[in-house]
């Protein structure tokens, strides 16, 4: 019994980690929290489900369309919305409201384009493993595996890739990067590209495992944000750690206290973490 709970916690937590990675990459580029990422994940997932099921296209094509849409939305949120507002004033309230407006627009767009019924993509992984007297659903294993691969790719890109390293520089101190002559616009585009791709992967996985409707995005956005905060910004693996931790806490809470306790747990967790350790587990330590 405990095995299936832990495995479900890790499996769902892996998806939270992917969403948190989206926040992380976007944060590196803009130092802003893009709350609309939940909506982008949902949009990509719904697009995949609709294109592959209702329109009968091959799954690969649907996947590419989903990725392209996610990148487009991420790009709009950065270039068309956040950048002008942040340039105008450093008042964070304007950015918050603009992101919420964008979230609204994406949500309504999804409702208009994809309809208001819940949509479920093709179930990709439906095997169930029996281990001892416990059950592990294969989708959780695949979630974790795919997340690990995505994270490994992103970490390698950030450490060795050209734009990855430039993104780290710009993320640390954009003004200094600008002075050094780094191509900030292209770096931001690279970050946005990565964010969109990661969101699309998360969306695809979500779509294959649960019905999505155009209200689902808020749950993703909140869970992803909490995972991001728990993990911290000190390392590119942090979002995954945060996500898995959140998934485990959530699974254990539901098992011990029932499904209704989830929201209360989230609130309590948020209040505790934000007050006690808002910088998260992994922080960048600078010698002063």
């Amino acid at each position: 019994m405990l095995l299936s709970i832990v495995s479900s916690g890790i499996g769902i937590g892996a998806l939270y980690g992917l969403v948190a990675l989206g926040y992380f990459l976007f944060f590196q580029a803009t130092t802003a929290i893009n709350f609309a990422i939940g909506a982008i994940v949902m949009f990509a997932g719904m697009a995949l489900a609709v294109v592959s099921k209702d329109m009968g296209q091959a799954w690969m094509i649907a996947m590419l369309i989903a990725v392209a849409l996610a990148i487009l939305l991420a790009w709009i949120s950065e270039a068309a919305i956040l950048r002008p507002i942040l340039a105008r004033s450093s008042d964070e309230f304007g950015a918050v409201v603009a992101i919420v407006a964008l979230m609204f627009v994406i949500e309504q767009l999804a409702g208009v384009i994809f309809g208001r019924r819940p949509i479920q993509g093709k179930q990709l992984f439906d095997a169930i493993y029996f281990v001892g007297d416990g059950i592990i659903e294969s989708r959780f294993v695949w979630n974790l595996a795919i997340s690990l691969i995505v994270f490994a790719v992103v970490v390698a890109w950030l450490r060795y890739g050209r734009y990855g390293r430039m993104l780290r520089a710009a993320g640390d101190n954009e003004a200094a990067a600008r002075v050094l002559g780094l191509p900030i616009r292209r770096i931001k585009f690279a970050a946005v590209f990565a964010t969109g791709a990661v969101c699309a992967v998360a969306g695809v996985l979500y779509a294959s495992q649960a019905p999505l409707n155009f209200h689902s995005h808020l749950a993703f956005a909140i869970a992803g944000f909490i995972a991001f905060v728990i993990g911290g910004t000190g390392s590119a693996w942090a979002p995954l750690v945060g996500g898995i931790l959140l998934g485990l806490i959530e699974a254990l809470t539901i098992w011990f206290l029932g499904g209704g306790a989830r929201d209360y747990m989230l609130l309590l967790l948020v209040l505790v973490v934000f007050s006690v350790r808002p910088e998260g587990i992994f922080t960048v330590r600078v010698r002063t």
């Binding site: 627009v105 309504q108 905060v229 209704g260």
Partner: protein
């Protein structure tokens, strides 16, 4: 001549003008709504949203603290009317005390607990609180009606006079005017200036002896009280309440109202409420696309006209004014 008036006199005159214009607008609104049922349904929504927006405006525009827990205060007001209204309404007079008091207390506690947070962290923490309250109401079982809500709320009797739908609209509109005017005066009062000072720069305000945390808590509590009045009006008007009216989506809608209307005056929140209701509900043939249009409109206004509608009008007026009369002052 403007130069011979003191700043105080000019300020007093501006406040009077604003209050008068607001009163005229309110009267026009009440007359326009009149007795038609459909217009009354929209009218009460405008009033309810205007009050919610005013409740959000006070701590946000003046204090700089974004709290997204307004659906909770909205619900507290509505449920206080619904619950005290059972058994024929004998206890209905308790509702304002209960509703306003409880929501102010809740807001104060939430403000204290989140006092170290800011930006998105504060937004998410307060949003989660609002979600928790909403979830709790749905699962509340017998005493709060559960998912079916509470029905059979009687009408309020004021000095033997029944407050029917038309009367409620008039009373509600009057309340909007009173609260908006109060905020306008509060803004330039001693406490209002202190509140705005700590929004601009905390260290300087602290150096002047401004009690930052207390002011923030008080402004959030006041805002919550205003929001609970909105809930009470809704419950009295419809005579039933459903927990799904108090979800977090309401907060997101209300968030746009001060922005769209203009952040430098509480009347911007009222105008914003009008605009939002118009777009989301007043447009008969735009149902889903109505909200989408509204969202895109909000984005455009945020990007192109950050001063909102009233701000745009004020800027236009400045253009046509005589040169040499400079009116300073911050955006809010």
């Amino acid at each position: 001549m403007n130069t011979t008036q003191t700043h105080q006199q000019r300020l007093a005159r501006a406040l009077r003008t604003e209050s008068l214009l607001g009163l005229l607008g309110t009267l026009a609104f009440v007359i326009f709504v009149g007795g038609q049922v459909y217009r009354q349904d929209l009218g009460i929504l405008v009033i309810v949203y205007a009050l919610l927006a005013l409740g959000m405006y006070l701590p946000l525009a003046l204090g700089g603290r974004l709290s997204l827990a307004y659906n909770a205060y909205f619900a507290i007001g509505a449920y206080s009317v619904a619950i005290t209204g059972q058994q024929g309404g004998a206890l209905l007079w308790l509702a304002p005390i209960l509703g306003v008091g409880l929501s102010m207390l809740t807001a104060a506690i939430l403000a204290i607990v989140t006092r170290k947070l800011s930006g998105f962290h504060l937004a998410v923490a307060t949003m989660l609180f609002g979600i928790v309250v909403h979830t709790w109401l749905i699962h509340s079982g017998n005493w709060a009606g559960g998912p079916e809500g509470i029905g059979g709320i009687p009408r309020l009797f004021l000095f033997g006079w029944e407050l029917g739908r038309t009367e409620l609209i008039a009373v509600g509109a009057l309340l909007v005017w009173v609260i908006a005017t109060a905020i306008v005066h509060y803004r330039t009062s001693f406490f209002g200036v202190a509140l705005r000072a700590q929004r601009e720069t905390v260290p300087a305000a602290q150096a002047c002896g401004v009690p930052i945390v207390s002011l923030r808590i008080i402004s959030l509590a006041l805002g919550a009280g205003i929001a609970s009045i909105a809930g009470m009006l809704l419950a009295l008007m419809n005579q039933f309440i459903l927990p799904e009216s108090f979800g977090i989506k309401v907060v997101f809608l209300v968030l746009f109202m001060p922005i769209l209307g203009g952040m430098f005056t509480p009347w911007g929140s009222v105008l914003g409420a009008l605009i939002v209701v118009f777009f989301t509900l007043g447009f008969d043939f735009f149902e889903g696309p109505g909200v989408l249009t509204f969202g895109i409109l909000a984005l455009i206004i945020l990007l192109v006209f950050p001063q909102g509608v009233l701000g745009g009008l004020a800027a236009l007026r400045q253009r046509f004014k005589k040169p040499g009369v400079a009116k300073g002052g911050s955006l809010t």
